[in-house]
């Protein structure tokens, strides 16, 4: 049980896909100007990641080794197109904001990485937990970055005005991609210096 829990909690901080493995940074820069888009992107990625990990894990003994990557890609691509179709049908406004980034989930290294590194060797339940852990790990960072950027850039959080426009001037840098670079950099520094146990043990 403890072992299973570790599969979920490990990627939240110590082995975080964004700040530790530095994967999925492209989308972390792109969709984090507002918390609402970050939340939807996180959900979409987590769902796609869970499905792909489970499917790959179920097929793991059947997939011929020579074409395993193509099969992984095929499964992931199908799931992403499904997610895109669903978003466009049910949350049209948000799908417009995410535009190209939903398609980019296909190339998000986290999905392919977990399929290749974990789901191919492990049973479905463990793979699902691994996917949840990594999805949440990605979500935490995405939402943290988006919170900073929306708060400092537009003075609001999740669309609610926090810093009134009468005395707060939005910092435009935070709304541009370089702003995300700065914040992700700071988060990586913060995590590696203060939170991550692995690094301290190495010291």
């Amino acid at each position: 049980m403890a072992k299973l829990r570790k599969i979920v909690t490990d990627p939240l901080a110590d082995n975080n896909p964004v700040t530790w493995q530095v994967l999925g940074v492209c989308s972390a820069l792109a969709v984090t100007t507002k918390v609402s888009t970050a939340v939807v992107m996180s959900l979409a990625l987590t769902v796609v990641l869970c499905c792909s990990n489970v499917v790959i894990s179920l097929l793991r003994n059947m997939i011929p080794n020579k074409i395993r990557m193509i099969v992984e890609l095929c499964v992931i691509a199908t799931l992403v197109i499904l997610a895109d179709l669903l978003l466009r049908a049910f949350v049209y406004d948000i799908s417009k904001q995410l535009s190209v980034f939903v398609g980019l989930i296909i190339t998000n290294c986290i999905v392919m990485g977990r399929a290749e590194a974990y789901a191919l060797q492990n049973p479905p339940l463990k793979s699902l937990l691994d996917a949840l852990g990594n999805g949440f790990g990605y979500s935490i960072i995405l939402i943290a970055v988006a919170s900073f950027r929306e708060l400092l850039g537009s003075g609001s959080w999740y669309g609610m005005t926090v810093l009134s426009e009468s005395w707060y001037t939005g910092n435009t840098l935070m709304l541009l991609p370089p702003g995300a670079f700065v914040i992700i950099g700071l988060l990586i520094w913060f995590q590696r210096t203060f939170i991550s146990k692995t690094l301290r043990e190495e010291d």
């Binding site: 792109a30 011929p64 099969v71 179709l85 049209y92 190209v100 980034f101």
Partner: protein
């Protein structure tokens, strides 16, 4: 040999399952997506006329029925052909997105040019919205431009579809850029002027707006298609101005 056969069979099955699944879902959701798109166009047309259908964050604040009713009561559509002549037997609702956006390879003209006429409920002043679209840097940008009663002053512009780079060319969808068009003129002394999107910080000019930094190609594209499209509409507008 047996291994290879297994690979081929496995690959075929995976492809079949994936494609059938996608085909089913896409067919099932198509009507919903089409309705979303149609609603979006309606909203954008009302928006460009300044009707209060969205809150300050751009979210729709009227119900589906109210939207349909507003559209039906306040707006009438007319259809022009590539010569700027009125096509009496076509309704704007019957035009497909291809017919109003795809340009003929040889002539560079579109098949039909829709105009939406809006009557302000308070002042009963008329406004006209024209459909403008064309190539940006990566994609076709589509939008509406509203003109005041004089058929020269720009009342507003919105872009409702594009695939430009978010943060660069994608900024054309932002209000700060679209607001720059308000009050600009197409005509000078009754003659049509080339509209320009200039380098940011250019001299103030009634026929030009500041472009977007780092999106020069997108802006050049927008400039080109605005001029090309207005040229066609203007032939019809000239007749309207004569009548006024």
């Amino acid at each position: 040999m047996r291994d290879q056969a297994k690979i081929v069979i496995f690959a075929t099955v995976v492809c079949l399952v994936c494609s059938i699944l996608l085909a089913l879902v896409s067919t099932a959701l198509a009507p919903r997506q089409a309705r979303n798109k149609a609603n979006d166009v309606k909203t954008k047309v009302l928006q460009v006329f300044g009707a209060a259908v969205t809150d300050e964050k751009g979210k729709l604040c009227v119900s589906q029925d109210e939207l349909d009713a507003l559209f039906a009561t306040r707006i009438t559509g007319i259809v022009l052909d590539a010569e700027g002549q009125l096509v009496a037997d076509r309704a704007v609702e019957t035009l497909t997105p291809q017919q109003i956006s795809d340009r003929d390879k040889a002539t560079g003209m579109k098949a039909f040019y829709p105009v939406y006429v809006y009557v302000d409920p308070g002042t009963s002043e008329k406004q006209y919205a024209i459909h403008v679209s064309g190539k940006g840097l990566w994609s076709t940008i589509k939008g509406f431009m509203a003109l005041k009663d004089d058929l020269s002053t720009i009342a507003g512009i919105v872009f409702y579809e594009h695939q430009e780079t978010p943060g660069l060319g994608g900024e054309v969808e932002k209000p700060y850029f679209q607001d720059r068009f308000k009050g600009k003129q197409w005509l000078e002394d009754g003659k049509r002027c080339e509209f320009q999107i200039t380098k940011p910080g250019g001299a103030p000019n009634p026929h030009a707006v500041d472009g977007i930094t780092a999106a020069t190609m997108t802006c050049l594209g927008v400039e080109d298609f605005l001029n090309a499209d207005f040229c066609v509409y203007n032939r019809y507008f000239e007749k309207l101005r004569m009548q006024q």
